[in-house]
Amino acid sequence: MRKILLFVLAHRNTFLFFLLQIFALVFIVRFHFYQRAAFFNSANNFGEIVHHNQTRITNYLNLDKQNKALQLQNLGLLKGKRDNIYGHDTMLWQSEINTENFDIVAAKIIYNTTNRPLNTFIIDKGKRDGLENGLGVATALGIAGKIINTYDKYSLCLSILNVKSAIVMPKIKELGNKSGTIEWMGSDPSSVKLKGVHKYEEIKLGYQIVTSGYSINFPENLPVGKIAKIAKQEGSMFDIDVALSANLKNDYYVYVFKHKFKTQLDSIILNNKTLE
């Protein structure tokens, strides 16, 4: 016993190192994302104030770009009423989707990252405005992410640019219901990969990837991106690069989709699970 004690005392610094290292690893693994947001709430509140002011300044400098984006959006709305005056070059979802079942909340991004493996952004609407976890978020040009944590005034969203979890169930618009999964490879914030499309599908460059109607968090036909590169791999699947529609680095104005009958649908799904 005495020898053990002496051993520990002799190597106390090594033990201290391993103890602290385990602490740090617990922080990294356990307080990932969802918990972290709740745990560091007060620190995040401080951060939000800083980011709010920072974003006010950058927003002012970006007014020109924002105006152009709003103009594009108005164009989309106009296009819904008049037929094909402006051509089909840009993807504008405002006139294409069916928003009958959705309440749409406009919000502003006050903090945004695009260079981490798990990117997040914070929007300035929260529980007070009726937002909940899991709701889908899109910019004026395309899909952006989903809400993973709500506070009173703010919500934390997981960006589509994350290496861990898929945000959306995609489909290829031109082929109807041919779907795969969207994965981000952790480097380029303007493109993602579409995996799981079989080689016998007749896909072409420029085909649009949109949301399928299977999720209640996104309306159908919300653009994800366009096919930018098709590579044939060894296996039976295509390796497809998709250029994202949304410019997640510079977009500040977003829309949150809330299904009007979400609670009802959720309870149906829950009941279905209890039956199994």
């Binding site: 190192f17 740090a24 990294i28 480097s187 380029d188």
Partner: protein
């Protein structure tokens, strides 16, 4: 350590932290450059500091910056690792000639040994940081590339800091 030296080290840490928060986290240099600069503080802590105190200090400062930089535990783990292994590169006895020596202090005489010390420990720091950040074997080669490039860029910034603030006193 006298009070003035402690205050100077405190200033160095706050400076590095603010530089990381306001500049390095905001400039966008593409997907492969994510320099982290806080490691310089641990590299420069004097050799006389008690080892257990060094470990606790680097862990605490790492955790503090993690909360504010939104990197959960990554800085704490990496700074602690550097604090633990840096003694293997520090000489047991001080060589009287400064050009063959690695003596961590706020007045650094840069030489080849310093360069090796900084390069190696910076790389270990960045590698540990990114492997815990990505936490995936699928992206292993990407992690290595990101570590090397960020490490080199970080050393460039550290060199600028050396030149601006950490010049040796004129004899």
């Amino acid at each position: 350590m006298n009070a003035k030296l402690v205050f100077n080290y405190f200033l160095l840490f706050i400076g590095l932290f603010l530089f990381q928060l306001t500049v390095l986290n905001n400039i966008d240099l593409g997907p492969y450059f994510k320099p982290q600069i806080l490691v310089l503080f641990v590299l420069l802590l004097p050799k006389e500091i008690t080892f257990s105190y060094l470990l606790l200090l680097s862990f605490a400062l790492g955790l503090f910056s993690d909360i504010l930089l939104n990197t959960n535990g990554l800085n704490a783990s990496s700074l602690l690792l550097i604090a633990f292994i840096r003694r293997f590169w520090l000489p047991k006895e001080v060589n009287p000639r400064p050009e063959f020596n690695v003596v961590p202090s706020l007045r650094v005489v840069l030489n080849q040994k310093w360069l090796a010390y900084i390069l190696l420990l910076n790389f270990i720091y960045h590698f540990n940081f990114f492997i815990l950040d990505y936490f995936s074997f699928r992206l292993f080669f990407k992690i290595i590339v990101v570590s090397v490039l960020s490490c080199l860029l970080s050393i460039f910034f550290q060199w600028i800091i050396f030149k601006l603030f950490l010049k040796p006193k004129l004899y």
